[in-house]
C-alpha cells in the first residue's frame, strides 16, 4: 500500500499530530508554530483534492482503520458528497486561520496563543473525522472532541461572559451527546452493528420487528443533532457562545461547526435509517416546521439586538434553519439548496464575523448604533459587510440567492407553496436588520466619532477573498450544483 491509500485517515490524523506539536513549538520556536498548522491545513486540502480526483475515476473510497474490516473495525468512507463537505470545512478553516494570526494577538493573552492553535487543529481534525467516519461510535467520540475544543476556543478568552457561555454550551452539548449515545444503544440493541452501511440493511428488517426502538433512536438523534446544530427551539446556547467568543472562534463556530451536525443528521436520515421509517412517521415534517419557525424567529430575535456580534449570532439560527429546511423538504433539489447553503453560509457568516472582528480591532465598537459613518473610516471592511449582508438577504448576484432559489423551486415542485412564503418572509426580515447597518455606515452625514487604528493588510486580504467568493458563487454555480445533484439523485 502506498501513502495515497491512507489519505482518508491521514486527513484526520495530520490535524491531531499538528495539535500536539504546536504548543511545544510555540514554546521553543514561536514562528514555526503557526506555519505548522497552516501546512497541516494545506496538506489536508491537497489530500482532499487528490481523493476527489480518485473518487471521480474509481468511485467511492472505503478505508478500514488498522486493516480491520467492518462490521468490527472502524470504516472511513470518502464519496464525493463527503469530500465536498471536507473541502468546504478545510478551506474555510484555512482562510479563518490566516485571519486569526493577526486578530488573536490583540484578543488573547500571548501565552495562550499556542494552545489556541492546538484547539483549532483539534476542532478541524474532529470535524473532518465526523464527515468521513462511517461508524456510529466513532462519530460519538469525534463529536465529544469537537464539543470540547469548540467550547475551549470560546473559554480561552477567560472573561466572564466567555466562561459562562462556554459552560452553558458544554452542558447542552453534553446533553446532546448523551441523547446521541442512548440512540446508538437503541440501534445496537436491535441490530448488533455500528457501521452505517450494515445498519441501513439490518434496520430495514429490524424495523418490522422492533419499530419502537427505532422510533426512540430517531427522536433522540433529532434532539442530539438539533441541540448541537442550534435547530430552532434548541438554540438557546448559541447566541451567548458565538457572540462572546474571540472573532476567529465566532467565525469558525458559526461558519462551520454547526453545519457539521446538520450534515451528520442528514447522514442518519438517508444512510442509516431505513426508508420505511421516513415514510411511516413524519420526521421530515417535524424538521421542516421547526426549520420554518427557526428562519422567522432567528431573524426576529436578531432585529432586537443592539450588539453587532450578537445580531450575527442570532442570524446564524435563521440561516442554519435553511439547511434543515433542505433536509426536511425531502426532495433532491431542496437538498441541493441546503448543501449549497452550507458552503455559501460558511463563507458569508465567517466573513461577516471577520468584518465585525476588524471593526472591533480597529475601533473597539461593538454596539450597532455607534457604527454610523464607519464606512468612511473602514471602507473595505464595510464593503465586505455589505456584500455579506446582500448574500444573507439573497440579492441576485450573490451565493445566498442560489440556495434560496433551489429551496423555493423544490417547495413549489412538491406542492408546498407555504414554504416559499416562509423563505420570502425571512429574506425580508434579514433585510430589515442587515440593511440599516449598511446604510448607516455609508450614508450618515456626521463623521465617525471614535478613532480608528489601521488594519493589517492580511486581515483585509481575507475579507477581499470572501467577497470574491460570494460573488463568484452567485454566478458560477454549475460544478457544485451538478456534483450535488449527482449525489442526491441516488436517494430518490
Amino acid at each position: 500500500m502506498g501513502l495515497s491509500d491512507h489519505y482518508p485517515a491521514l486527513i484526520v490524523v495530520i490535524f491531531f499530530i499538528a495539535a500536539f506539536l504546536s504548543p511545544l513549538l510555540y514554546r521553543w520556536a514561536r514562528r514555526i508554530s503557526a506555519a505548522l498548522i497552516i501546512s497541516a491545513l494545506i496538506a489536508a486540502l491537497a489530500m482532499v483534492i487528490a481523493l476527489m480526483v480518485e473518487v471521480q475515476h474509481t468511485g467511492t473510497v472505503y478505508y478500514h482503520m488498522g486493516g480491520w474490516a467492518p462490521p468490527w473495525g472502524i470504516e472511513f468512507k470518502a464519496d464525493s458528497l463527503r469530500l465536498y463537505m471536507l473541502l468546504v470545512v478545510i478551506s474555510v478553516s484555512l482562510w479563518i486561520f490566516v485571519f486569526a494570526l493577526r486578530d488573536l494577538q490583540h484578543e488573547l493573552k500571548k501565552r495562550v496563543i499556542g494552545w489556541y492553535y492546538t484547539l483549532y487543529a483539534l476542532l478541524v481534525g474532529s470535524m473532518s473525522g465526523i464527515v468521513l467516519t462511517n461508524d456510529l461510535f466513532n462519530l460519538f467520540v469525534l463529536m465529544e472532541i469537537c464539543a470540547i475544543s469548540a467550547c475551549a476556543i470560546i473559554s480561552i478568552k477567560e472573561d466572564r461572559e466567555c466562561l459562562e457561555a462556554s459552560f452553558k454550551y458544554l452542558i447542552l452539548s453534553a446533553m446532546g451527546t448523551g441523547c446521541f449515545l442512548l440512540g446508538v444503544v437503541m440501534l445496537y440493541m436491535v441490530t448488533g452493528y455500528l457501521n452505517y452501511g450494515f445498519l441501513h440493511v439490518e434496520l430495514a428488517e429490524a424495523f418490522n420487528i422492533y419499530p419502537r426502538n427505532i422510533f426512540t433512536a430517531a427522536a433522540l438523534f433529532i434532539v442530539a443533532f438539533g441541540t448541537k446544530a442550534a435547530l430552532f427551539p434548541l438554540h438557546v446556547w448559541l447566541p451567548d457562545a458565538h457572540a462572546s467568543a474571540p472573532s476567529p472562534s465566532s467565525a469558525m463556530l458559526s461558519g462551520v461547526v454547526i453545519k457539521i451536525y446538520a450534515f451528520a443528521l442528514f447522514l442518519m436520515f438517508y444512510e442509516v435509517f431505513p426508508r420505511a421509517l421516513l415514510e411511516s412517521i413524519p420526521l421530515n415534517e417535524i424538521i421542516l416546521w421547526l426549520a420554518a419557525l427557526g428562519t422567522l424567529f432567528g431573524s426576529i430575535y436578531a432585529m432586537m439586538q443592539s450588539d453587532l456580534k450578537k445580531m450575527l449570532a442570532f442570524s446564524s439560527i435563521g440561516q442554519i434553519a435553511y439547511i434543515f429546511m433542505g433536509i426536511g423538504l425531502h426532495h433532491d433539489s431542496a437538498l441541493v439548496g441546503g448543501f449549497y447553503h452550507i458552503m455559501v453560509h460558511a463563507v458569508t457568516k465567517a466573513m461577516l464575523f471577520m468584518a465585525a472582528g476588524v471593526i472591533i480591532y480597529s475601533t473597539g465598537v461593538r454596539e450597532i448604533k455607534d457604527l454610523a459613518g464607519v464606512g468612511r473610516v473602514l471602507p473595505i471592511t464595510m464593503i465586505a459587510f455589505t456584500i455579506g449582508s446582500a448574500s444573507m438577504v439573497g440579492i441576485p448576484g450573490t451565493g445566498g440567492l442560489i440556495s434560496k432559489w433551489y429551496l423555493a423551486i423544490s417547495a413549489l415542485e412538491i406542492g408546498r407553496p407555504v414554504f416559499v412564503l416562509v423563505i420570502l418572509a425571512s429574506s425580508l426580515l434579514n433585510a430589515v436588520y442587515y440593511m440599516p447597518i449598511v446604510i448607516n455606515a455609508f450614508m450618515q452625514q456626521e463623521d465617525f466619532k471614535k478613532e480608528a487604528k489601521s488594519v493589517p493588510r492580511i486581515m483585509l486580504a481575507c475579507l477581499v477573498i470572501g467577497m470574491l467568493f460570494i460573488v463568484v458563487s452567485g454566478f458560477y454555480t454549475t460544478p457544485v450544483v451538478t456534483l450535488l445533484q449527482e449525489n442526491f439523485s441516488v436517494y430518490f
Partner: protein, 122 residues
C-alpha cells in the same frame, strides 16, 4: 400484560432509563453548577450501564477464551466501547469543573441564579 412482563424481564434497561431521566432533568433544571456536572455524569453513566447490559446474555462469562471449555461468552464489544466512553466522559467532566472554578473566581459562587442576580445589579 405483555408490556409489564417486558419491563420486569428487562429491569436493567429500566434502571438505566430512569437514571438517564434523573440526570437529564437535574442537569437542565438545577442552578448549582457542580450539581449540573454531577448530573451530567449520572446521565453518561446510565447510558454506559445500558450499553454494557446489551452485551450481556444470561449465564454468560467474561470473554476470555479457554481451550476446551464450552461456555457462553458475553459480547466484548460494548465493554470495549464503553471504556472509550468513560475516558471521554472524564475529560468532559474535567473541563466542565475547570470552567466552574474559573467562574467561581469571578463571582464567589457556583449558583447560576445568584450569578444572574449579581450581573443584573451591575
Amino acid at each position: 400484560m405483555e408490556i409489564l412482563r417486558g419491563i420486569v424481564d428487562n429491569y436493567y434497561y429500566m434502571v438505566a432509563i430512569i437514571l438517564f431521566v434523573i440526570g437529564m432533568y437535574t442537569m437542565l433544571t438545577h442552578s448549582n453548577m457542580i450539581k449540573k456536572v454531577i448530573a451530567m455524569n449520572i446521565m453518561d453513566a446510565s447510558v454506559f450501564l445500558m450499553f454494557v447490559a446489551v452485551g450481556y446474555a444470561h449465564g454468560s462469562q467474561a470473554p476470555i477464551i479457554r481451550e476446551g471449555a464450552e461456555v457462553l461468552y458475553a459480547n466484548p464489544l460494548p465493554g470495549a466501547l464503553i471504556l472509550t466512553g468513560i475516558v471521554v466522559a472524564v475529560s468532559v467532566t474535567a473541563y466542565a469543573l475547570s470552567l466552574v472554578v474559573k467562574i467561581y473566581r469571578y463571582y464567589d459562587t457556583c449558583d447560576y441564579d445568584e450569578i444572574c442576580e449579581i450581573r443584573s445589579q451591575e
